[in-house]
């Protein structure tokens, strides 16, 4: 079944895969963070998602109008072309390659920005770095319909 990107159903599909791969995530350890994903475009459109992880799983992923009132630990923001490039790379390699990992994309904010107010909560991006990367890598075998 195809899922649209961006959409809440895309993240729900990742959550289903995460539940199927519990051993992998249990091995990585507690994963306690709530963070936002913002997809900018096409055009001026901004779509925001709030992902809430607890213990070893994603407890919820929902689309919301505005992330500001939700108080996420941090927000990963990129334009739609960047998100699509990352996901296509994950799909062609079975996981992000050296140029498409979340840390690489966000490090200097070239490809993807990390927005945060609180440096402690920003550090959760690094405390759970491997879990976050493996979560996005779960898109490797999804059938994705990209918004144009």
């Amino acid at each position: 079944m195809k899922v649209d990107f961006p959409s809440a159903s895309f993240f729900e599909a990742l959550n289903d895969r995460m539940a199927q791969e519990q051993d992998r995530f249990t091995r990585l350890g507690y994963f306690d963070t709530t963070f936002g994903v913002t997809v900018v475009g096409p055009g001026e459109r901004r779509r925001n998602y709030l992902l809430n992880f607890e213990v070893y799983e994603c407890m919820g992923a929902r689309e919301i109008d505005n992330l500001e009132g939700e108080d996420p630990d941090f927000v990963l923001e990129a334009d739609i072309a960047q998100w699509q490039d990352m996901l296509r790379n994950i799909q062609s390699n079975g996981g992000a390659d050296t140029d498409h990992g979340i840390n690489t994309l966000t490090h200097f904010g070239e490809g993807m920005k990390v927005i945060y107010d609180d440096p402690e909560r920003h550090d959760k991006l690094f405390r759970f770095s491997e879990s976050i990367q493996e979560y996005f890598d779960l898109a490797a075998d999804l059938k994705i319909e990209y918004a144009s």
Binding site: T98, G101, F126
Partner: protein, 379 residues
């Protein structure tokens, strides 16, 4: 042998007779069954998480009611146990909560325990054996790994040095620093293994860096050790790991840096939470910390601009030794160093040491780097 028993128990007739009497009659003392402790039955708040230290935070045993100064427990009696007369004074030197406690330390312990990994099996070493690195990249990478191994060895020794000095009532902190020592030992292990698998082995230790490490090790109080190790040094190393992940030559190297990054960020988290606790409960220490950070920043500047530390970053980020590679590498490394400094001050601001930014000479370094990058049109 530095500590002797107050009697030789085999020569103590009363003691031996009591033992023989119990053996002969089956009559036991059992007075310990009436220990003046609380009966409790702790359960998991979240079964998926398991039984955590937070679940044990109950009357008689918990950490929420810890006093600022622990006077009663001078030995290894677990917090909440009855302490009989006559136990020895183990002479822990860290007996004040404000010297060691951190908000959410019990959460950091559980996270540390659940996120342990294995340097021997969690990295696809076979895949790395096939990765051929050009000589200048390989040597620069081996030099970076040499430096990181040095750093991680001191980061293992510092928490281990303090572990036995912390009063047993702070069990959550003792466990956190024990796990930190384990994390850092694993980092020293993985960087050594990676260096010895590049084809170039280890390169050269750095004089300036070694002086910095000596300073870190020899802090006179736990809080000084923590603010420089957890917050300043590990904060910088965390940015360095993210940068190293960014410039890593292979997927397996990236995985290695993501794994060490996770541990490092947790240690920085503890350091921040301890400094916040300290600022709230013992604000008088502010000037002492400023003085300690002043010298720590001096050592840090010497260390990060040491040839053995700075130059590998330039070569790795520029991806070579040609003029255009070096120019590019200088820009990227300069941006990375500015990021390190910004994040250091951000963290101190958050912990309440907001005036460090104005008082620190690291700002001069920041401005020098900024001007250098501006002159090259990079920013």
């Amino acid at each position: 042998m530095s500590y002797l028993a107050t009697s030789h128990f085999l020569d103590d007739n009363e003691f031996v007779d009591k033992y023989l009497y119990s053996m002969r009659t089956g009559e036991l003392d059992l007075s310990w069954m009436d220990a003046s402790t609380k009966d409790v039955h702790c359960t998991s708040a979240n079964e998926r998480r398991g039984l955590t230290f937070r679940d044990l935070d109950v009357d008689g045993y918990g950490f929420s009611d810890l006093p600022e100064v622990v006077r009663e427990n001078r030995c290894y009696a677990p917090r909440g146990a009855e302490i009989p007369d006559g136990v020895p004074d183990m002479q822990a030197s860290v007996n004040r909560s404000s010297d060691v406690w951190a908000y959410n330390v019990e959460g950091y312990v559980e996270e540390a325990m659940s996120r342990q990994w294995d340097a021997t099996t969690d990295i696809p070493w076979a895949e790395l054996q096939e990765a051929e690195l050009p000589e200048e990249i390989g040597k620069a990478y081996a030099q970076l790994l040499t430096f990181l191994t040095e750093v991680e060895m001191i980061a293992t020794d510092v928490p281990a040095k303090w572990m036995g000095q912390v009063n047993a009532d702070f069990i959550e902190v003792k466990n956190f620093i024990a796990l930190q020592a384990m994390d850092e030992a694993r980092h020293a292990e993985i960087f050594r293994k990676r260096a010895l698998s590049t084809g170039y082995g280890l390169m050269r230790a750095s004089v300036q860096n070694e002086h910095n490490l000596k300073f870190l090790r020899d802090a006179e109080t736990f809080s000084e050790a923590s603010v420089t190790l957890h917050l300043q040094a590990e904060g910088n190393v965390l940015t360095m790991f993210r940068f190293s992940e960014y410039i890593s030559p292979t997927d397996a190297d990236k995985r290695m840096f993501r794994l060490v990054m996770q541990d490092e960020a947790r240690h920085v988290g503890y350091g921040m939470q301890h400094l916040k606790w300290l600022m709230k409960h013992n604000p008088e220490c502010r000037e002492t910390l400023h003085a300690h950070l002043e010298e720590a920043e001096n050592f840090l500047f010497g260390s990060i601009f040491a040839n053995e530390v700075f130059e590998p970053f330039v070569i790795l980020s520029g991806k070579g030794l040609k003029k255009e590679n070096i120019d590019k590498g200088l820009v990227i490394t300069g941006m990375f160093q500015m990021r390190q400094t910004e994040e250091y001050f951000e963290r101190l601001d958050k912990c309440g040491l907001t005036d460090r930014r104005e008082r620190s000479r690291l700002h001069e370094v920041y401005e020098m780097t900024k001007q250098g990058l501006a002159a090259q049109g990079a920013i």
